[in-house]
Symmetry: C2
Subunit: 160 residues, 2 copies
């Protein structure tokens, strides 16, 4: 499940990256006046520990194996729903999987580059993509509430 080179596209220390993500999450939840419980924090950590999108049942399996917590699906899905609501993770629709948000303090839509070789997934922050979608929607008098952009292909590390 782990990628060959998890830090390929985001050169940094992964442990400290997780730690800072969890810290940010604490702040976000404090500001939003919601409770980042032990379970929710743990699920967020597991999602962050993987640079590949993680499925709900993958999370369940880790909880069972590493925590001895025999949780049922609703437990995990509720935690994921909470994290989604707080903008701490994104759902990748094309993979039925979840990934940590790289900038939860600034609300935004999720644009992703997904490598179909190694699974690594990078969150894009592109104003140009955002603007072009907004303009296109405007042409049709369509009022946007949520955008999903998922680009599948080959990451630099997996190119020959």
């Amino acid at each position: 499940m782990n990628t060959k080179n998890p830090t390929a596209l985001t050169p940094h220390n992964h442990d400290s990256c997780i730690a800072s993500a969890l810290e940010k999450a604490q702040q976000v939840c404090q500001r939003n006046n919601v409770r980042l419980t032990e379970l929710r924090l743990r699920v967020l950590e597991l999602v962050w520990r993987s640079h590949k999108p993680l499925g709900a049942y993958d999370i369940l399996a880790v909880l069972a194996k590493e925590d001895g917590r025999n949780a049922a699906p609703p437990t995990v899905y509720r935690a994921l729903d909470f994290l989604l609501e707080q903008g701490l993770i994104h759902r990748i629709a094309s993979l039925n999987a979840f990934i940590g948000c790289s900038d939860p303090e600034c609300p935004h839509q999720g644009y992703f580059l997904i490598c179909n070789q190694c699974g690594i997934t990078l969150e894009l922050h592109s104003d140009k993509v955002s603007k072009s979608i907004q303009r296109a929607a405007l042409e049709y008098d369509f009022q946007i509430s949520h955008e999903m952009v998922e680009v599948v292909g080959v990451c630099p590390n997996c190119k020959v």
Copy 2:
């Protein structure tokens, strides 16, 4: 399952729209030297008959009810896979559903505006969106093989 105003975003006669879609499909398949069988044609027609994305099990239900054809899931999924391969339909990942392609003769990625009130779904053809995504991917040296853009919101007809 049918929308209140299926022709809202695409003002045309729906029957003739379906007919022309099926005709185009015949041509595409002839050119590609593949067989658009009775089943495949029927599934394509059902997908086209709905301006809302249609689920595989919705199709199964119609086949059972209208055609007395007690097909099992693989039958429908295989037909859908064929239609996807030939570019005659798109899959909407966020809805686990399928919709007819508005321009199967010219290969392209699927960009969609999806109304969360009435379900109507419009396929965008936007070079600007396409270019902006390509540029963003290029910045990361990411080689695109497939793009998905799904924009959820409120269509003009459903606005107050």
